[in-house]
Symmetry: C2
Subunit: 457 residues, 2 copies
């Protein structure tokens, strides 16, 4: 393997490369640090920052000085970003931010304390300051926060030739753009033209004739997740963002949306597992703090479940085999419920559930619960009857299994739906509710039926 390679064969940062950088850093060899960092893309610089020790991160930023591209800070976990920004002076941050695209600058400023944010803003040129302030006025996680405010807008009465001449001579253009906006004098969008259409049309073609008037626009106040759904649904690459009076104020590009899609899916996965907005770079303290609430909720439900078992104290005393078998019914219910719940949560997240599809899904899950209930009732019934030499015990656990798997399917679909109707995120609390229900029903059904069957009450 190339000892100078930045990434190893597994696509991870090469340990050799990293140790060399750390040695340079420790020795204060500014030129060597600059030489090895220089060829890296901002995303790779972000990866390097995350791999370094916390105190090495701001040291690297300071040593690179003007060679450090602050957009790399938008590529790291939030906790890492906040730590680095804390360690840097506001003057340094202002210098770094002023070279950034509007959306990247907003991403950094968002994470500063109000006081620091104001100080950094005050050090920026007037135009930049106003444009950033305006973006920051939009709600968190809105399209307005994510948007890029540089875009190309032309009047409808131009021709392709005029536009190309304008693009060739205008020095202040966005870094990258995929379509051109046709606007009237008040910046109302009349149409859009993708770049490839431009290159294919003669110079004399009029803009008005060329433009696409079947517009997809995003409201700046709209949630970024809604905007992401539009991108996915209509295979967009760039979309215009408009304010309350429908004036074009910015554009969202697909690279920002890819990050949003990833974040939202990640959020769903983590919420389902009872992990908050947590990254692998978070400190031990903040990890404990984010997980304890979920475990407390689980403790409460576990105690509740144990109270249910406590009702059958006398029953268990007469037949200890029940204690040995009872976790099986509860555990199967928990699993079956989680399966249904996960499918429902994902379908809700992707807006796949309109009236007809919803009814079909509910019917299907009930039937699946029944079929699986019967399959596993027979299986566990046979195993139990054989193990304990007691057919009655096999029948009891089988009956409890059927009941619990039907309940699991029903709860797995109705709980996320109920949370969604109540405008709560169905991913957030479904798992706790579903497993609590399947535990309670599992233990209650098994111990209850056993008590009745064997006349133990």
């Amino acid at each position: 393997m190339d000892p100078n390679a930045f990434r190893d064969t597994e696509d991870r940062i090469s340990p050799l490369w990293l140790e060399r950088l750390r040695a340079y850093l420790a020795a204060g060899r500014r030129e060597d640090v600059t030489t090895v960092m220089e060829p890296l893309h901002a995303a790779d610089v972000g990866d390097v920052l995350e791999s370094l020790d916390p105190d090495e991160r701001p040291a690297l930023v300071r040593m690179l000085g003007d060679n450090f591209d602050y957009s790399a800070l938008t590529e790291v976990d939030e906790s890492v970003r906040v730590d680095i920004l804390d360690a840097l002076s506001n003057a340094d941050i202002a210098r770094g931010v002023s070279g950034l695209d509007n959306d990247d600058a907003v991403a950094l400023l968002e994470d500063l304390e109000q006081e620091d944010r104001d100080e950094v803003l005050s050090k920026l040129p007037t135009f930049e300051r106003l444009s950033l302030k305006r973006s920051l006025d939009f709600p968190e996680e809105s399209a307005g926060r994510r948007m890029q405010t540089d875009f190309i807008a032309i009047p409808p009465f131009w021709t392709v030739g005029q536009t190309i001449d304008y693009l060739r001579t205008e020095p202040e253009l966005p870094d990258e753009f995929y379509q051109i906006y046709v606007v009237d004098a008040s910046y109302q969008v009349l149409g859009t033209i993708p770049l490839d259409k431009f290159l294919r049309s003669g110079r004399e073609t009029s803009i008005e004739a060329l433009m696409n008037t079947n517009l997809v626009l995003v409201d700046a106040n709209e949630d970024q997740e809604e905007a992401a759904r539009d991108f996915e649904r209509y295979d967009l690459v760039e979309v215009g963002v408009v304010d309350e009076s429908r004036r074009l104020v910015g554009v969202l590009t697909i690279d920002d949306i890819v990050d949003v899609i990833h974040e939202e899916a990640d959020e769903d996965i983590k919420l389902l597992a009872g992990v908050g907005d947590e990254d692998i770079s978070d400190t031990t303290v903040s990890t404990v703090r984010s997980r304890v609430p979920w475990l407390v909720v689980n403790l409460i439900t576990a105690v509740l479940v144990s109270l249910v078992i406590g009702l059958f104290n006398a029953t268990i005393e007469q037949m200890v085999a029940l204690a040995v078998l009872m976790p099986i019914v509860a555990s199967m219910g928990g699993n079956a419920g989680t399966q249904t719940m996960t499918v429902t949560v994902r379908a809700l997240a992707m807006r796949e559930l309109d009236g007809r599809r919803l009814r079909r899904l509910i019917t299907r899950e009930m039937v699946v619960g029944m079929v699986n209930g019967v399959i596993f009732a027979i299986l566990i019934g046979l195993v139990t009857a054989a193990r304990f030499g007691d057919i009655g015990l096999g029948v009891v656990i089988g009956l409890a299994m059927v009941i619990n798997l039907i309940v699991a399917g029903t709860a797995g679909i109705l709980i996320p739906l109920g949370l969604d109707k109540a405008k709560a995120d169905p991913a957030i609390a479904s798992a706790v509710f579903v497993t609590t229900i399947t535990d309670v029903v599992g233990f209650f059904a098994f111990l209850g039926i056993a008590g009745l069957w064997f006349g133990l009450f």
Copy 2:
């Protein structure tokens, strides 16, 4: 609300709209059907197909005839697509496929039986057939399967002006493109030029001077997930795909990649919940079939856990309170283990774990396990001591809790890592392993310590 609106305020298909379409379909009113379907984007047509009953779907496709855009079939769940394709004649499919972009055509052909696929291919024009066959030769889920084979390649000795003239006169161009490839005579890529750079440069500028030689290319045999990671990391919009001899054979665009990112995240979520490659449109039978294996695995581990409890038969007989309390320790361990496991699985999926970050994560999770262990040992110890008026029982459950939460943290990180090292998908089986371990350890530790403490053995 507008009764003619396609989507309701919740962004779902309006029930009114859908019922009208179904009435037209049932009455065979072809013109009305065409009129209401005509303004819809392919993605919306896909949504409509999923909402219809299974027998209405091919009826809609047939009624629309040449007005049906087959790319809508790439927007529906696989089971729906397979059903519709089954119901259509190969001649119809061939007609539909021949109007499609290469990548969409491949997506449809992939889902046909070998025999039907060969028949459809045989009905296509030679050039199209060869190009599709070539894409289908690449492995499933590879970049070669997803790529679009139409792209614009020019020689390095051209100028911007020559290129623009070529684009204006050449009738056979891809529908949408974001960059132009500079290739030598054997189609080796020399450089790329994004379209905006073209529009900003004078006609006399030479292509060689303009092109970006810092190339990111994807191997056609590479897994689509790898390609998606490149897109995300480097904020790409389009990337060239090359074959074994490094010749340009196609391009991947961001809209395909967005689908990949979504699918992969979805897959992780579902695997973690023990749901296979399952969609909400799947039939009851296929849903049962996909879930039973997971439940069987869970049944086996549940029986295993119950065998562990069975070891303590005599202990429980002497002190039924143990049976009442034992699920608490197991349940807390399962939750804490799932938290750690989920964070680890996601970090692995996003390649965030190189050597240093990995060691930090392991240390953190062990410490978090200990800290949470102590917190919840004290909580549950106090609750138990108060409820049963027995301080000893509180101490026993507290000790078991500490042990199980440390084990949970350790298992939650080591099991996904081990699966990853063994080249298995860490999402697929981690949950079962982790909860089995926390169940076994939870019951064993609690019942064992109790037996020793109270001298019940």
